[in-house]
Symmetry: C2
Subunit: 274 residues, 2 copies
């Protein structure tokens, strides 16, 4: 059991977005090790089908298990929405996604029971946020809006740009008129646009970032299962390991800019072999 | 040999963009059959590495060969720029890309020997357009500019939108000042923005769409090799077959909107198995 306690958490995403979730885990439970995988060879997931994303998720889980992980975090809203339930029963370790924690905190935050959700096409079309919010709050009205240009705009680095603001105003126009009081940032890239989205929606709308709640839920899960690391990760030479399916320079730049640690080693693997 | 003459042409791209090349082939050599493959499960290619794109190209060629193709057209600037030369010697059938024909026609079109090229990051960074233009015109000056947001903007359908125009003005600003008289649309999505790009660059700049020249070069190649179809493809029940690695509804919509034929059957295959 001591070995299992010291095992790392597997965290994966289609690319760099899930690093915002890894960052929250590093902040909330700094004693845990992390093996991060970014599927940069097949990014993005947001416009791909359920079948394909389930296949990709299975491959990534097989890879993470070779690294001896004790639990897995699906740090991608799209994969959490369409693939997580399909693979959960195939696993002998706990797995959590970002959609369930995000839905829970939104259901708790709303006062008028009107919640907005922005995300990729596949996430919004899946209806998974609606389903999970209504498990907590059956009478909730949930209004979804896909924002396909947000990810490329963030990856271009235009997070404080008038072009992005114009795109955001257009995507958010219907949500502004819909009297929501809570808005879920349902894609791991979107916290990087939170100030712009917040300014457009106004201060009466609470923004929910599922990453924060996911890290808290992970901590509770590890304690409940008796596999939380009770030591300090500083005993490990390399507490955070990063793997990608394509060696994009962008990954290193992005990771170094948002993580509170040095990203010294990023290894490339062929995910199709798993 | 008659069998080979009646065999189809394999055409592939990361997704829908290569359909603009398929369209030119349908127009220029309507008697030829086409097997089209769009790698929609791994799209886009434009920000991925050379190693990964060579691996993907090899898989796709293996798949197309199972369909009995007599020649292959790499209808993707990025794969043409970084993968084509690596796989050419492994093949026993002819293969052509879009970069060489585009470079040739640009070298012929320029009067002041100053040529611009816009494309994905990987295409522009590869330097392949520069190399091939200078084979025809050693003293040519070639100025490249990556335009990563053009593909997502076209896929969002915003081809005549003020947001896209603002993005285009920004991407093209340096090229406008650079005194080029010829600009290569070095990505198969960009012909859908040709009017906007043309208006911004002005009428003194000739726009080159490599798709047109590629279809002509394919016709010449088939005749030179003695494998051109001398019949009429109307003898075949289904002259144009479409395969994708992910069944995105978008593919069918896009294909139907730009092709001069009905796209009735699109089959999904698992490209990782090839």
């Amino acid at each position: 059991m001591q070995n299992l306690k010291e095992a790392p958490i597997g965290v994966f995403d289609s690319g760099v977005g899930g690093l915002t979730v890894a960052r929250e885990i590093m902040r909330q439970i700094p004693q845990e090790r992390i093996v991060y995988f970014g599927d940069t060879a097949r990014v993005p997931y947001g416009s791909k089908s359920t079948d394909t994303l389930i296949r990709y998720t299975r491959q990534i889980i097989r890879f993470l298990k070779t690294r001896g992980v004790k639990a897995i975090v699906v740090a991608c809203n799209t994969a959490s929405a369409v693939a997580l339930e399909a693979v959960r029963d195939e696993l002998d370790i706990p797995i959590i996604g970002v959609v369930r924690p995000g839905a829970k905190v939104a259901a708790e935050a709303t006062r008028n029971k009107r919640i907005g959700i922005i995300g990729t096409e596949t996430t919004v079309n899946s209806g998974m946020y609606v389903k999970l919010i209504q498990e907590h709050l059956p009478e909730a009205e949930v209004i979804g809006k896909a924002c396909p240009l947000f990810v490329p705009l963030v990856e271009e680095g235009w997070t404080k740009d008038p072009v992005t603001e114009e795109v955001a105003r257009r995507y958010l126009a219907d949500l502004q008129k819909s009297d929501i009081d809570t808005l879920i940032l349902g894609c791991t890239h979107y916290p990087l646009l939170r100030h712009m989205v917040g300014d457009i929606m106004g201060e009466q709308v609470t923004l929910v970032n599922p990453a924060y709640e996911t890290a808290l839920e992970l901590r509770a899960l590890l304690e409940r299962e008796g596999i939380a690391n009770d030591g300090e990760n500083k005993n490990f030479e390399n507490p955070y390991e990063f793997f990608v399916s394509d060696l994009a320079e962008k990954f290193k730049t992005f990771a170094s800019s948002i993580l509170p640690c040095d990203v010294t080693s990023i290894k490339k693997i062929n995910i199709e072999e798993y």
